[in-house]
Every structure is written in structure tokens, then in C-alpha cells.
């Protein structure tokens, strides 16, 4: 992908939240969220801790229903990478990936090779037989990414997927992710606390306010791909967004 020209408005969106509101008991967590993610669009979601990012992803994934408003997703079954790895501890790393392939309808014969390929993609070749509890937090997140990709969904929802990774591995996985996104023309909602990561990855960055969660601001990121996290343009926009994020967090803290 060399241009960031947004193809929204044309096709039906990959996900549409229209006036989506979520309450847990009395607590208003998400307040009338309007958010369209176009087919093939990469959206990053920023916001203070507890502002409702995971809640929003759960709505988009169809795991939870909004209290009011509507959520519609184009993909039959979005792939969701949870904030905690959510891998099955009774299976090996490869077993987890293969199960996703199996449930996606892939033949037994092809599963093994495809799982190996996906594990290699997240830089875990040779980890096929490893037990989940034998792996580091970062390795688990990478297996979870491989498993999410194995689902073959057109809509990928990711909840702080790279939070436990070292900077080098994270750079590599940023490349892997943008690569897969371009090749498969996926639609992605990527939640992160890292502003630079958001600007490095997204075509659009959405900032959520806290209590209640509302869309505070959005930025179109015009920087052409391939990007690098240390690019000057990335740093510049990150600085601006960080200012707004600080503001949000400060407002939140005063409450």
C-alpha cells in the first residue's frame, strides 16, 4: 500500500458502530460511539486505561451487545486478539494455531504446514511443540497473533497485542502486520497505549475520552507506507497526539 487515500464511504464499512452505548450496571462506559471502519482500513484506538477500549472491541467482535445503538460487522466472524493471550493451555503453540485453522475448515494435511508458516511469520519457527506455560509473555502474544491470523477473517481486532514485546521484536511484528494487512486487504482495529505505535501503524488514529468513553478526536495519518517508528513524521504527529492524550488522562485523573 503506497497511498493512504481513504476508500471509505464507497463500500459498506467493515464495522459500523452507530450510537453504540455500553453500560455496566450504572456505569456508563461507552457513550454514543459513532465509528465506521472501512474495508481495508487500519484504525488505531488510543485512550486512557479504563476508558472502554476493550469494551469497544468486544462489541465489534459481537461478543457483547451494546446497551443502546447498533454494531454491525461485515465479516462473518471477526478475529479478536484479546488483551490477555487467551491461548488454550491444553494445546501446544502449534496446536492452538492448528485449532483455529481446523475450525476455519482447513484440511488436516495442510494444517501443520500452515501453522508452521504462521509461527515463522511471527518469528517463532521451532516453537510448534512448545507448551503455553513454557513460553514468555511476548512469545505467547506472538502465538496469539499467529492464531488470530490463522482464523483467516477479513476483520482483525487487536487489543494491545504488542504490549509485552521488546522494541526490536515489536518493530519486526509491525512490519509483519502491515505486510499481512496489505496482502490480505484486512480491516484492522488496533488498540494501544503507545502513541508512536498507533501513528506507525494506522491510517487513522482515534482518541477515546474517559468516563464516559466518547470519541474525543481523530487524526488521518497521511504518512506513506512503509513507515518506521523512528521516522520524523511519525515522531511529529505522535507528539501532537500525545499532548491530547495527556489532556484526556489529566481530565480523567481530576474526576
Amino acid at each position: 500500500m503506497t497511498s493512504t487515500s481513504v476508500t471509505r464511504a464507497a463500500a459498506a464499512p467493515a464495522v459500523r458502530l452507530a450510537g453504540a452505548t455500553k453500560r455496566f450496571g450504572d456505569a456508563l462506559v461507552l457513550d454514543r460511539i459513532d465509528l465506521d471502519v472501512a474495508e481495508g482500513e487500519f484504525v488505531c484506538l488510543l485512550g486512557a486505561s479504563g476508558c472502554g477500549k476493550s469494551t469497544l472491541l468486544n462489541l465489534a467482535a459481537g461478543l457483547d451487545r451494546p446497551t443502546a445503538g447498533t454494531v454491525t460487522a461485515g465479516a462473518a466472524r471477526p478475529a479478536l486478539m484479546f488483551q490477555e493471550h487467551a491461548l488454550f493451555p491444553w494445546l501446544t503453540a502449534g496446536g492452538n494455531v492448528e485449532l483455529a485453522l481446523e475450525l476455519g475448515g482447513l484440511d488436516r494435511k495442510e494444517r501443520r504446514a500452515e501453522a508452521e508458516r504462521l509461527l515463522a511469520l511471527v518469528r517463532l519457527s521451532g516453537a510448534h511443540g512448545k507448551r503455553i506455560h513454557e513460553m514468555s509473555g511476548g512469545m505467547r502474544q506472538r502465538v496469539a497473533l499467529a492464531r488470530a491470523l490463522a482464523q483467516g477473517s477479513q476483520l482483525l481486532l487487536m487489543d494491545e497485542p504488542f504490549a509485552a514485546l521488546d522494541a526490536i521484536t515489536r518493530d519486526v511484528l509491525h512490519e509483519v502486520l502491515t505486510d499481512v494487512w496489505e496482502k490480505r486487504r484486512l480491516s484492522v482495529i488496533f488498540v494501544t497505549h503507545n502513541v508512536r505505535e498507533a501513528v506507525r501503524l494506522g491510517q487513522r488514529v482515534v482518541l477515546l475520552s474517559s468516563r464516559p468513553g466518547r470519541i474525543a478526536r481523530e487524526w488521518q495519518v497521511g504518512i506513506p507506507y512503509p513507515r518506521r517508528i523512528e521516522d520524523h513524521d511519525v515522531a511529529e504527529l505522535s507528539l501532537e497526539i500525545t499532548g491530547h492524550l495527556r489532556e484526556e488522562i489529566r481530565r480523567h485523573a481530576r474526576h
Binding site: A79, L87, F88
Partner: protein, 291 residues
């Protein structure tokens, strides 16, 4: 361990040369720790048995209880039971009943547990009944079964099932209840629904609890069976009848011998079947230390 030391000495002596003996050592080294581990595992139960025997012998020698038989006389009794052809068929009948009864209990209890987990209505209606049966002693079930089915094999099986099924289904239902919601949701997003969710996510996730439920089902079934054999006169005598014969003839020695057989089966099933399965299941999930 002396055994492995001896083996190693044997292996080294004929070869003579250093190369050969070190080669043999290397060949042997994988098995040596295994043998040592097995020996180590046997130490604790052996120590327990020795402890019991010592206390028993002491109690006998000090004449704590005038009717208490000596360990030697009980061993003799067991030998007699074996030689006169009572013990083996009795064991066979009891084990057969317990194994088939247990298998039937699993076939009934596991689906029932799933239904209790899955359907609120089943939970509301059936779960209290199962819980009630769980608290009912087998001794209360036997007369019921005998009245309904006569002094027959079916009555014995009915008692075993009523003993084992509630434990298995309630245990499985609670194991399923305890699955972390995150894993269930992960299964849903991956497209595991209906029976595939059960097979690929729910049962594997609940396996540690399921193993405990099966173990408890076995234990309850075994106890119920002994009760049934003790108080009914089925055509084929089991271990419970040996116990009954001891009671009828007021032979403390025979009773203790029968109790030892019943205990031994419980201990062996635990040590050879449920213990290893549980350790394996937990180890796979990283739920115990690296041993």
C-alpha cells in the same frame, strides 16, 4: 539405588576398557534415572505400609484389643482365601461390576453433567436431585434397589450407578462452570460452536475437574458396590460377601483380610490410574512444578 549400582558394575566389568564402559554408561544413563525415579516413588507407599504394620504388630503385642488378630494370622487368612479359590473369583466379580458399573456411570453421568451446565431448566430441575443423591449413603439405596429389582445383578448395578452418576455429573458441571470466560470467548471468536465447542474447548478446558469428578465417581461407585455386596446375597459372590462371611462367622481375621483387599484395590486404582492421569493433565497445563 543398590539395584542400578549393581547393574552398572556388571556392565562395566566384562568390557574392561574405558571406552566401552563409558559407552555402556551412556547407553544406560537414560534408564538409570527412570529406575531411580520409580524406586523413589515406591518409597513413600512402602514406608506407609511398614508404618501401619509396625503399629499393628505393636498393638497386637501389647494386647490393646483382645480380639485383634496379628498381621501374620491375617496374612495366613489371605493365603487360605487365595488357595481355596475364594479370593480370585470374588475379586473378579467385584471388579467386573465396578468396571462395567463405572463405565455405564460415565456414559450416563457425563452427558447429564453437560446438560446441567448448558440448560438452566435442567439445572433447576435435575441438579438438586443429583445433589440429594450424592448425600445419600449407599446403605439407604440398597434396600430400595433390592425391593425394586430383587437380589440380582441389576440391583447391584443400580446401586453402583446411583452412587457414581451424581458425582460424575455434578463434578463435570462444576468443572465446566469454572472454565475462565476468556477461554470460552476465545473459542467463540474462533468459531467453535455447538458440539465442536464441547469437544474442542469445553471438555479440554474442564479436563482437570473432569478427572476429579471421575475419580470421585469411581470411589463412590466402589463404596456403593461394597455396601451392596455386603447386604445383598447376589448369586455371584464378590469381595463384599467375603466381608459378610467374616461378620457371619464372627472371624475378626477374615474381616480384616477382606478390608485389606478392599483397601488395596482402592489404593491401586488411585496409584495406577487416577494419580498418573491427573499428574499428566496438570503437567500439560503447567499447573504443577516441573517434575
Amino acid at each position: 539405588m543398590p539395584a542400578t549400582d549393581l547393574k552398572r558394575a556388571d556392565a562395566a566389568s566384562p568390557g574392561g576398557g574405558d571406552d566401552i564402559s563409558s559407552g555402556l554408561d551412556a547407553l544406560e544413563s537414560p534408564s538409570a534415572p527412570a529406575a531411580r525415579r520409580a524406586a523413589k516413588k515406591a518409597v513413600a507407599p512402602l514406608a506407609a505400609i511398614v508404618f501401619v504394620l509396625v503399629v499393628w504388630q505393636l498393638a497386637y503385642a501389647l494386647d490393646v484389643l483382645s480380639t485383634l488378630p496379628s498381621p501374620a494370622s491375617v496374612a495366613g487368612e489371605l493365603g487360605d482365601l487365595w488357595r481355596d479359590g475364594t479370593l480370585l473369583p470374588a475379586l473378579g466379580h467385584s471388579l467386573e461390576r465396578c468396571v462395567f458399573g463405572f463405565a455405564a456411570s460415565v456414559l450416563v453421568g457425563a452427558p447429564l453433567g453437560l446438560l446441567v451446565y448448558r440448560y438452566a431448566l435442567v439445572r433447576t430441575v435435575i441438579a438438586p436431585v443429583l445433589s440429594a443423591f450424592q448425600s445419600l449413603p449407599a446403605a439407604a439405596l440398597v434396600p430400595l434397589a433390592v425391593i425394586a429389582l430383587g437380589e440380582s445383578e441389576s440391583a447391584v448395578y443400580a446401586v453402583v450407578l446411583l452412587g457414581a452418576v451424581p458425582s460424575i455429573s455434578m463434578g463435570l458441571a462444576s468443572a465446566l462452570d469454572q472454565i475462565p470466560p476468556l477461554l470460552r470467548r476465545a473459542g467463540v471468536t474462533m468459531g467453535a460452536t455447538g458440539l465442536r465447542a464441547v469437544r474442542k474447548v469445553l471438555l479440554p478446558a474442564a479436563l482437570p475437574g473432569l478427572v476429579s469428578a471421575l475419580r470421585q465417581g469411581w470411589t463412590f461407585g466402589w463404596r456403593a458396590l461394597m455396601t451392596a455386596e455386603l447386604i445383598t446375597a447376589t448369586p455371584l459372590p464378590g469381595v463384599g460377601q467375603v466381608l459378610n462371611a467374616g461378620k457371619e462367622s464372627a472371624s475378626f481375621t477374615l474381616i480384616v483380610a477382606a478390608v485389606i483387599v478392599i483397601l488395596a484395590i482402592g489404593v491401586l486404582v488411585e496409584a495406577l490410574i487416577f494419580g498418573p492421569i491427573e499428574r499428566r493433565v496438570l503437567r500439560d497445563r503447567g499447573l504443577t512444578g516441573p517434575k
